[in-house]
Amino acid sequence: MKKLHLLPTVALISVILLGAMFMYVVEDIPAFGDPNSPPNKYVPLPISIDADGLADSLDAGVVPAELKSEIAEIGYTRENHFPSLEEGNYKIDKTEEGWDVLIMKEEKYYPGPEKWYFIKEELGGKLKVYRYSIPVRWQEKTEEETELPNMVTSGLADYRSYDTMYEEAVIFTAAISVIMLLRRREKL
């Protein structure tokens, strides 16, 4: 009698389970090629307050106190090592879609202002706040900060250079492992 094929059964069950899990999450995955999705441009913060009066203040270049306290409530404060919205520390650029809040960086070598928050007036007269995500800075500042036209290179070897260093360590480990497992000659 042929014995039960245990492993294919286990594999089939796990594949079906995983497939069901992926079916479950598909609604919350950002659509393909969305230029405004969180990984590509900005993340919505859970802030939504009435715009009346505040828009004028934003036009005048001042972040209103209500917004400031809402942002601090999320945890973007000095204690959490995020830049604060102190007077004179930021400036506001008005664009077609909304207001960009630029904050002075605290990096020693690149103190210039950079995009942090994006405030947009939505249909119901509500203000919505977004936080810019990583590629925005990489795309806009890479030439200015590293003089490299290729963002993948500058990201790989400068902004996230520490990862790359250990990536080299991984390939080094693999080479040494293969030497240890297979080489039988005197050297090494």
Binding site: V25, I29, P30, S133, S177, M180, L181
Partner: protein, 502 residues
């Protein structure tokens, strides 16, 4: 910037540079490898003590690698939890390095010494790196450094170790891939990779299904690495057939680093709110941990191979740690029992494996039934084994006793009395299998037909680390009972938002 804030990165980077140096220095002189490795790990250990002191007196270290601010670059965050686990890992690595000197010469070809120590140093690099980092993707890369080194180091013993290592490689790679997939889901909804940043962005997205799936994937992935109960299938073989020094380091330091990663993901990225909000995740963890405690102990009783018995005992002990994690959300003790057992289990299991490998070193004694009357021939090793086994059983005032006491306090505090029964039952099973070994070693007299074993004590560099650990089992137990490290535990608990039950 204070010079001491450079130490977390130096701990990892100097270790990597040392690994390269070992490869080149081994070309000139094979003997130098061990000393370079030992010196580096000692240096790292000293640095880690300074880091803990700085974290406790001044505060959390935030270190921006390359000078880039966190969401754009990589950040190292060292708080009390990191510093505590870092010290444990480096201390155990140090003892394993001392232990490896003679055992490796005995077990491994002389030709492979250079590559062995290179990989050993890379393993320590990876472990230290996993612990200090504050970036999810960086943690993935460093997990892979230490896993790859571990696969090769297990396989170097040859024979059945190859299959064990292959199984570990497939399971470990799937685990790490699940972790990577979890990062992908989190990244697709938050657009960041930094743990602190993600912690702030996630609360608004707890209802997002991608985030929930990411939690499941990360838990499964790191659970495979940590050999948590249903995912432990690679673990007994790998621990049994690996070379001695490697068994010691992967069963203590590496298992602890994976558990640390799991705790960091659960409490620092997803926070307590998430695991209490939707499903009773903490309860599920506790129940699985309870099954692991009993399952591991029962299988340990069935083993004749000493190292395999200890490997199954490890599964039970990972269950103890995870029970602490599961109970942490509903007691005022918080993570204290789990964190205690991270240290305690490292001390006890390191000592037990050192002793078990000492028996193999001298007389190739793998089977428990062959250990008859060994206590008279190898008094120090057997004494270390005895102390650690008593500690494992829970003999007061040892570390095992302290863990069980605090776990019982936590279960009482949480009102989950069933787990007290589980702890008692598991202790009973532990007494059965450890007492069996102790009885054979100390009490049973050789019968006439038994084969004569003419062994003497193992070399000094092999039994002294074991004895140090054995005495530490009791000294640390007393220190826990006095309560000296409690401010550290409170700092960790408050940092993770635990210990406050509404």
């Amino acid at each position: 910037m204070l010079p001491i804030e450079q130490f977390p990165v130096l701990v990892v980077a100097i270790s990597l540079l040392s690994a390269l140096t070992i490869l080149l220095a081994g070309w000139i002189n094979k003997k130098s490898c061990f000393f370079i490795s030992l010196a580096t790990i000692t240096f790292q250990f000293i640095l880690s003590i300074f880091i803990l002191h700085h974290v406790l007196t001044v505060g959390t270290i935030h270190y921006w690698l390359g000078g880039w601010r966190p969401p754009w670059g990589i950040e190292y965050v060292v708080d009390a939890l990191n510093a505590y686990v870092l010290i444990i890992i480096l201390f155990l690595s140090l003892l394993a390095a001392i232990y490896s000197k003679r055992s490796v010469e005995h077990e491994i070809d002389e030709k492979k010494l250079v590559t062995f120590y290179t990989l050993f140093q890379l393993l320590v690099t990876g472990l230290a790196g996993v612990v200090v980092t504050g970036d999810l993707f960086n943690m993935y890369v460093l997990l892979e450094v230490c896993s790859l080194a571990a696969y090769a180091l297990i396989a170097v013993a040859g024979g059945r170790a190859l299959k064990a290592s292959y199984n570990y490689l497939v399971m470990g790679a799937i685990g790490v891939c699940f972790y990577l997939l979890g990062i992908a889901f989190l990244y697709s909804v938050t657009g960041t990779l930094n743990m602190g940043d993600m912690r702030l962005l996630l609360p608004a997205l707890y209802g997002n299904k991608g985030v929930q799936l990411a939690f499941v994937f990360m838990f499964i992935g790191l659970g495979i690495k940590a050999a948590f109960f249903p995912l432990h299938t690679w673990q007994p073989d790998a621990y049994t057939y690996a070379p001695s020094a490697i068994t010691v380091i992967i069963s203590t330091a590496m298992a602890k680093a994976s558990i640390y990663a799991l705790i960091r993901i659960i409490f620092s990225v997803f926070t307590v709110d998430f695991i209490t909000l939707f499903a009773p995740i903490a309860d599920i963890i506790s129940w699985v941990a309870a099954i692991a405690m009993i399952f591991g102990s029962i299988l340990a009783i069935a083993q004749f191979n000493l190292k395999r018995m200890l490997a199954y005992s490890s599964i039970a002990n990972i269950g103890y740690i995870m029970l602490g994690v599961g109970l942490s959300t509903s007691t005022t003790l918080g993570l204290t029992p789990a964190l205690m057992h991270i240290l305690n289990h490292a001390l006890m299991k390191g000592c037990l494996f050192m002793a078990a490998c000492g028996f193999i070193y001298k007389a190739d004694l793998r089977d428990i039934r062959d250990l008859v009357g060994l206590a008279r021939r190898m008094p120090y090793t057997c004494f270390a084994f005895l102390l650690a086994a008593l500690s494992m059983i829970g003999f007061p005032p040892s570390v095992g006793f302290v863990t069980k006491l605090y776990l019982i306090f936590a279960a009482l505090d949480a009102g989950k009395y069933i787990f007290i029964a589980v702890i008692f039952f598991s202790t009973l099973l532990m007494i059965v299998y450890f007492w069996h070994v102790i009885e054979i070693m100390y009490i049973r007299v050789e019968e006439g037909g038994e084969k004569e074993i003419s062994v003497t004590e193992v070399p000094r560099s092999m039994f002294i680390p074991g004895l140090v650990l054995a005495f530490l089992c009791f000294i640390v137990g007393i220190i826990w009972l006095i309560g000296t490290p409690m401010p550290l535990m409170d700092a960790i608990n408050s940092g993770l938002g635990l210990g406050v039950v509404p």
